[in-house]
């Protein structure tokens, strides 16, 4: 009999304790970010899709060695380069990233010995078409210069 009432009262008490906690939470300030109206700044190490780093002359630092292409687990990078007449170094002619298959692992950035690629801070990416994610990073670099 004692246990019966004890169960009822302790049970009821635990319910009141719980209600007390949610009541306190009710008056605490809100913690959510109201997204389209405000947004959080990305951290310095945020891994967006990759982009080319411009050198001092504005040209990409890439020497078309193809290490990133090889390192990529999902084969989403394809680069092209050619050796202009009279030049010793190869020049990058195209750097295509298929972002639909990229898993943002960073192998390409790791593997680059020339510091030519980095992560961008892009995170507001949305589209209904697959083709929108086939990036031409060289074009992107030129656009960013303007």
């Amino acid at each position: 009999m004692f246990r019966y009432f004890n169960d009822i009262f302790s049970g009821l008490w635990s319910l009141f304790v719980g209600m007390g906690i949610t009541f306190q939470e009710f008056f605490k300030p809100k913690i959510t970010v109201h997204y389209p109206h405000e947004s959080i700044k990305m951290t310095a190490r945020y891994r967006g899709h990759i982009e080319l780093i411009p050198g001092e002359d504005g040209q990409p630092l890439c020497v078309v060695c193809g290490m990133c292409e090889k390192a990529c687990p999902s084969n989403c990078i394809s680069i092209g380069g050619e050796k202009p007449e009279g030049s010793k170094k190869k020049v990058l002619t195209s750097y295509r990233l298929d972002f639909t298959t990229c898993s943002l692992c960073g192998s390409c950035v790791d593997s680059c010995n020339f510091g030519a690629v980095r992560f961008s801070r892009e995170y507001n990416l949305a589209s209904t078409r697959k083709e929108d994610y086939h990036y031409d990073l060289l074009k992107r670099l030129e656009e960013s210069k303007q």
Binding site: S10, G11, L12, S14, L15, V17, G18, I21, T22, E25, I31, T43, A44, R45, Y46, R47, A71, C72, P73, S103, L104, C105, G106, S107, D110, F119
Partner: protein, 372 residues
């Protein structure tokens, strides 16, 4: 529900729980043969998001396979990466700087807390309480923010490298983590007051879904499921790896074997993880996080290697069979939920559907990890 229930096999109907059902957290399907609200028999159907990670391994180099590990268990990705890098390092005899090992342990434990927090929220939501999920996610956000600042990613970290780390932690991280430990201790107290001692929750969990030691042994259950059944088994203790022997922490074990025991094990594990992180931050040595000389391409000597680590849900094992090439000959991932879920079929017989779903929640399922 102590007395056994006699079920009438000729008056049953089949209830398809899943693949899309609010309680299955992903695409798990359980074909339940029901007698009224009682489960007569259950057959779990998995494989809806099977991606054949093991075949992928055979076509990639060891380094290229790294991102796959984060995609097994998206909630505690760090521990799976840890298992993989440990396996490869062991086989290829790569030395790891001490600082890197400490940072690995710290981040893995933080990830374990975040994984348990998701489980906590989702589990209470399975039981019908919605607010604890939001509080848990609030705390989890703090962890994710800290980890994002270090690794650059919130979920699929891909932070470890063979022999070291992707990059070093900074003072902000250490300070932020200390702040977080204080905050988390307070929140855990709040969870205990709000949820653990709640009479409705106790009524729903105590005595529900008993898992015996024998059942664990036959199905190979590990992690909190085994520890809730009185089995003192934690890979961090039984087979110490990394720098875990340096830490002073307890393995919570409960003998009841019911859902509430599993619940308490996980709640206490969070506290123990906080202790590990705290000690790790205190002991964190200076030095590099990557070895000075790293082999360019990793090739393992022929043979087969087995490594187990304690992931958020139990013992995660990885078996690499190498033939000396730069990609594995065969790579087997032993995921803990796979074994833990398997015992559901046998254990849930005779349960009410509401209890069975609470039981399923207490097993802490992550479907991508199970399906691999």
């Amino acid at each position: 529900m102590s007395e056994p229930i006699v079920l009438q096999p000729d008056e049953t109907f089949i209830l398809n729980v899943g693949p899309q059902h609010p309680a299955t957290h992903g695409v798990l399907r359980v074909k339940m043969t029901m007698d009224g609200e009682f489960i007569y028999n259950a057959e779990t159907v998995i494989g809806y998001i099977h991606r054949m990670h093991e075949k992928m391994a055979e076509n990639r180099t060891y380094a290229q396979y790294m991102p796959n590990l984060s995609r097994l268990d998206y909630l505690s990705a760090m521990a799976y990466c840890h298992g993989y890098v440990l396996a490869v390092e062991k086989a290829a005899s790569i030395e790891v700087p001490e600082r890197a090992e400490y940072i690995r342990a710290i981040t893995v434990e933080m990830n374990r807390i975040s994984s348990h927090l998701v489980w906590f929220g989702a589990f209470v939501m399975d039981l019908g309480g919605f607010s604890p999920l939001m509080y848990a996610f609030d705390d989890r956000e703090q962890i994710l923010d800290l980890l994002e600042a270090v690794t650059g990613s919130r979920l699929t970290y891909c932070y470890f490298r063979f022999g070291g780390l992707y990059n070093d932690v900074d003072d902000d991280f250490i300070e932020g983590t200390r702040r977080f430990i204080k905050r988390m201790r307070k929140s855990l107290k709040m969870y205990h007051k709000l949820v653990t001692t709640n009479v409705i929750l106790m009524k729903r969990l105590i005595g529900i879904g008993p898992v015996s030691v024998d059942l664990c042994q036959r199905y190979g259950a590990t992690g909190p499921v085994a520890r809730g059944s009185g089995i003192n088994y934690d890979v961090r203790r039984n087979e110490p790896y990394s720098v875990y022997p340096e830490f002073d922490f307890d393995i919570p074990v409960y003998n009841e074997g019911d859902s509430f025991a599993r619940y308490k094990v996980r709640m206490e594990e969070m506290e123990q993880s906080l202790r590990i992180i705290e000690q790790g931050l205190d002991k964190l040595p200076d030095g590099p996080v990557n070895p000075e000389k790293k082999p360019k391409t990793i090739k393992l000597p022929a043979g087969d290697y087995y490594t187990a680590v304690e992931a958020g849900r139990g013992s995660f094992g990885i078996r690499i069979v190498s033939d000396g090439d730069k990609s594995p000959y065969r790579l087997k991932l032993r995921s803990p939920t796979y074994s833990n879920m398997h015992l559901f079929d046998e254990a849930c017989r005779g349960m009410l559907i509401a209890d069975a779903l609470a039981f399923m929640g207490s097993l802490d399922l992550v479907i991508p990890e199970m399906d691999r």
